[in-house]
């Protein structure tokens, strides 16, 4: 039963993380390179610009959901299972989501990496 709980929590983490990552990645591309931006308009103005971005706030909300799912998962399962499993599945979901929603160039190199990570996750779960 504990295994079912753990994996349900892991799936919840993955779904919320993918949604959050895609929204945050889009938001930060809208804001622009933080290093250059900080030199141009100053640290506080950069913070203000990030916090004023609606996509960023939505992404943070999704990440908060993912975070509390993580708390639940960690209270049921080992960190060496929960953290890599959730992060790796999130990585595969992100590869697909980034291609579809962010139009990132996910080339063969990146797909092979996704495959190896998937195999690694299967081993972690076994």
């Amino acid at each position: 039963m504990k295994t079912v709980y753990t994996w349900s929590a892991i799936l919840a983490i993955v779904f919320a993380s993918v949604v959050g990552d895609v929204l945050l990645a889009r938001a930060m591309k809208q804001v622009g390179d933080l290093g250059e931006l900080r030199r141009r308009i100053g640290f506080l103005a950069v913070i203000g610009r990030i916090l004023g971005n609606p996509t960023f706030l939505l992404g943070v909300t999704a990440m908060a959901v993912a975070f509390f799912s993580l708390l639940f998962a960690l209270s049921w399962g080992d960190v060496s299972l929960v953290a890599p499993a959730a992060a790796s599945l999130t990585f595969i979901g992100n590869a697909v989501a980034a291609k579809i929603f962010l139009h990132e160039h996910v080339d063969r190199r990146r797909w092979i990496a996704a495959g190896l990570v998937a195999a690694g996750v299967a081993l972690l779960a076994g």
Partner: protein, 153 residues
């Protein structure tokens, strides 16, 4: 990619691994959280391990956002894969959890797979970037994209 940018990616890795480990340690002390006793979450946050874990995850978030401002999502996530190795080492030697050979192999595969990406370009250069964020782009001048492309080459 400048040295400073690699430093930011290293920060993402270390903060995430350390934060997760501290959370795990703290949550084991506070015990299981039940759906019927959600106040357990409040007690969990009062645990010092959990509190420090949360602080570290905040640091992770700051570095992660910085990285996402100049690199692809599909680049940043795998580039930080070394975190799995750190996690396994921490789980084994600090938390004294059992890490089986199968899990070690899984961790090795994940690390190898994501290591594939690190040598590639960090950002997709969109010729027609307007398709991504037309109406709500607040500041990604063409100049910045051009400079990124130049830096990569």
């Amino acid at each position: 990619m400048t040295f400073r940018k690699y430093l930011v990616l290293a920060g993402v890795t270390v903060f995430a691994a350390a934060g997760d480990s501290m959370l795990s340690h703290g949550m084991k002390q506070t015990g299981n959280i039940s759906i019927h006793h959600l106040q357990g979450v409040i007690f969990a946050i009062l645990n010092p391990w959990v509190a420090v874990g949360i602080l570290l995850l905040l640091a992770f978030f700051a570095t992660y956002m910085t990285a996402l401002s100049w690199a692809d999502l599909t680049y940043v996530l795998p580039a930080t894969s070394l975190g799995y190795v750190i996690l396994a080492l921490v789980a084994r030697f600090v938390l004294h959890e059992h890490v089986s050979p199968t899990r070690w192999l899984g961790i090795a595969l994940i690390t190898g797979g994501v290591g594939f990406i690190a040598s590639g370009p960090e950002i997709t250069v969109h010729p027609a970037r307007s398709s991504l964020s037309d109406a709500d782009a607040q500041g990604t001048p063409e100049l910045e994209i051009a400079s990124k492309a130049g830096e990569r080459a």
